[in-house]
């Protein structure tokens, strides 16, 4: 078996492994740990240069309650939800349908249309910055959540289609043919046969897109600019005033902002079950 289980290796290698692993782990998590520690430090620790040391006092409750009750953070979080959830739903709904069409139907330009969806992913999004901003401005959607949602859906559907189409291709095609012979309409085949079997793909994609969109900073900054529409990633900088930055509050806010994608992952975890098509064929 490769790699050889640690329990079966020599004693010296076991010791090396067991001592190096925690070191690597801590190095890896250091940025996260420092943010977490900063979020419970008092403001003074930053000005006095106590970056990595033990907190001079524990201000966790003060910091977090300031984030929730004395700042615009709740508003920004809510904006993030109103941007992310519709985007995820929109992307999944659209890509399930495009994936079904491209995966099931054989028509002349099938492959070319599919390539166009894929090719969209190769466009570096930075070069779209100016035209997309102009477009949203002309449509009157600049600095609105709707504008951001529409743009995100348009931009993410290409990748989602690639994902969905390949997943649907891997389903046993006889299932669709069997349903067709049985007189089931195409729309019902999509809804009652294909969609239930796509659950693992839908869950995986939902988590992926949720994380992408929730963590998006670039477009949030390009297309929105105020507390009424900016998501939390962009809004977190509002703790910075002109002459000083409230790093303890930014840290606390970051931790809060990072939790929803993690929660989303655990929420969807039970749907990532393999072998859903077990018993379909053979």
């Amino acid at each position: 078996m490769f790699p050889t289980p640690i329990a079966k290796t020599s004693r010296s290698w076991q010791l090396t492994y067991q001592s190096l692993l925690p070191v690597a782990l801590i190095l890896w998590l250091l940025p996260l740990i420092s943010i977490a520690v900063f979020s419970i430090k008092p403001d003074a620790d930053f000005t006095s240069g106590n970056y990595w040391g033990w907190p001079s006092s524990f201000e966790g409750i003060t910091n977090y309650s300031k984030v929730f009750f004395e700042s615009d953070m709740p508003r920004y979080l809510l904006n993030s939800v109103f941007i992310t959830v519709p985007t995820v739903l929109g992307c999944i709904a659209l890509s399930a349908m495009t994936g079904f069409a491209l995966g099931i139907y054989r028509f002349r330009s099938n492959l070319w249309i599919f390539f166009m969806f894929v090719a969209g992913n190769f466009v570096p999004f930075q070069i779209l910055m100016v035209p997309v901003r102009d477009l949203t401005l002309n449509l009157g959607l600049y600095n609105t959540k709707t504008g951001l949602v529409l743009f995100h859906i348009a931009f993410q559907t290409g990748f989602c289609t690639l994902f969905m189409r390949n997943f649907i291709r891997a389903l046993p095609f006889e299932l669709i043919e069997a349903a067709r012979v049985e007189g089931v309409s195409e729309w019902r085949i999509f809804w009652f046969v294909v969609l239930p079997l796509m659950k693992p793909a839908l869950a995986a994609l939902a988590v992926l897109i949720f994380t992408f969109i929730w963590n998006d900073y670039f477009w949030a900054v390009v297309l929105t600019q105020g507390v009424e529409s900016q998501p939390v990633t962009a809004g977190i900088t509002s703790f910075n005033a002109q002459y000083r930055a409230a790093y303890h509050l930014m840290s606390a806010g970051s931790i809060v902002a990072a939790l929803p994608p993690v929660a989303m992952f655990f929420l969807m975890q039970k749907h990532f079950i393999a072998g859903l098509t077990l018993g379909a064929v053979k």
């Binding site: 046993p172 006889e174 299932l175 043919e177 069997a178 349903a179 067709r180 012979v181 049985e182 007189g183 089931v184 309409s185 019902r188 009652f192 046969v193 239930p196 079997l197 072998g275 859903l276 098509t277 077990l278 018993g279 379909a280 064929v281 053979k282």
Partner: protein, 363 residues
């Protein structure tokens, strides 16, 4: 005259390659027709054309005299059982059976009646709440057949439904499908590469090779009067023996293995030509004392109790398989005498190795 199904000059090409070369066939109401042939002969393609899953390149498909070329699979009123069963894995057995009916907005009690009737008929009534993943291969096969039955289709289509089952179960399901046919009386079209399935189940067999029909007929007619060497070799196990020889104009047949016999073709030959003599393993007599038409040496043998298969070879290298309906003592390398039953020989000659009509008393 109305046929349950009629195919007229059906052709099918994939790109530049034509795989079905103009098939004409009529299937009557209530018939059990088996399409049989080696893999790649187009039998499954033909079934898919009938089902409407693929479209023929040219030719007409008629269901009860109605041309259905442009009618999609979902509206042809057929049922198909797939080799891989194709059960909906996320539905219970009951939903698998009722799904197709719910789609045509059938009344609930009618659906229940049909599902329960089919389940009882196939003895899967205790499995109705399980998922396909919890069933054995044979049970899944039954569910797949049940799904076909509940629709009460005009024609049942079976695409090698038994090839994923083990030998014992296959035998059992073979009998069950035959019984089902006599109970339901529906028209059934069954595709298989297994000549035993074809021989045992069919009212009529359609032998296909490379996209063409080689012969159509009742199983025993095909067995006793194969139209050509391919059909003769395809039906029957062990395979028919083929011996090379020459046939003179006066009907003198000289085999390379050393036998000379007189036969009487119905149509006289234009000239002497090389022919192949075909003889079924059971049409050969054996003498342990070495008496008979020829002697051959035993290469191998199989004693199955009720039957004995003897694999022999002539000095010129040609082999001969003999089937005996009794037990005899044998040794490898032993010389035995063999006698050919000349009333049962087949002579294949010319292009396509067609069978020559012989003037003789038919057995």
């Amino acid at each position: 005259m109305t046929h349950a199904l009629e195919l007229r000059q059906i052709r099918k090409s994939w790109g530049q390659v034509e795989v079905i070369h103009g098939i004409d066939l009529a299937i009557e109401e209530g018939e059990f027709v088996v399409f049989v042939g080696p893999s790649g002969c187009g039998k499954s393609t033909l079934l898919r054309l009938i089902a409407g899953l693929d479209d023929p390149t040219s030719g007409d498909i008629l269901l009860k005299d109605r041309r259905v070329n442009n009618i999609p699979a979902s509206e042809r009123g057929l049922s198909m059982v797939f080799q891989s069963y194709a059960l909906y894995p996320h539905m219970s057995v009951r939903s698998n059976l009722s799904f197709g009916l719910e789609n045509v907005r059938m009344p609930k009690d009618e659906i229940d009646r049909r599902v329960n009737d089919a389940a009882k008929l196939l003895q899967i009534d205790m499995l109705l709440d399980r998922r396909p993943g919890q069933l054995s291969g044979g049970q899944r096969q039954r569910v797949a057949i049940g799904r076909a039955i509940v629709r009460e289709p005009v024609i049942f289509l079976f695409d090698e439904p038994l090839s994923n089952l083990d030998a014992e179960l296959r035998l059992q399901m073979r009998v069950e499908i035959s019984n089902l046919h006599s109970q339901l009386g529906n028209t059934m079209i069954y595709v298989t590469h297994d000549q035993v399935e074809a021989m045992t189940m069919a009212d009529r067999i359609v032998v296909l090779r490379a996209g063409r029909i080689e012969q159509v007929g009742k199983p025993l007619d095909l067995y006793n009067h194969p139209a050509n060497r391919f059909v003769a070799g395809f039906l029957g196990a062990p395979q028919m023996n083929f011996l090379k020889g020459r046939l003179a104009q006066d009907g003198t047949l000289t085999l390379d293995c050393g036998l000379t016999r007189q036969i009487r073709p119905v149509e006289p030959l234009a000239s002497e030509q090389s022919v192949t003599l075909g003889l079924r393993p059971e049409s050969i007599g054996v003498s342990l004392e070495g008496q008979g038409d020829l002697t051959a040496s035993v290469q191998n043998f199989e004693q199955l109790g009720a039957v004995t298969y003897i694999y022999t070879a002539f000095p010129n290298g040609e082999t001969l398989t003999v089937q005996l309906g009794r037990q005899i003592p044998l040794k490898r390398g032993q010389e035995i005498g063999v006698t050919f039953d000349m009333d049962r020989v087949h002579v294949f000659a010319g292009e396509g190795e067609r069978a020559l009509k012989l003037d003789r008393a038919e057995p």
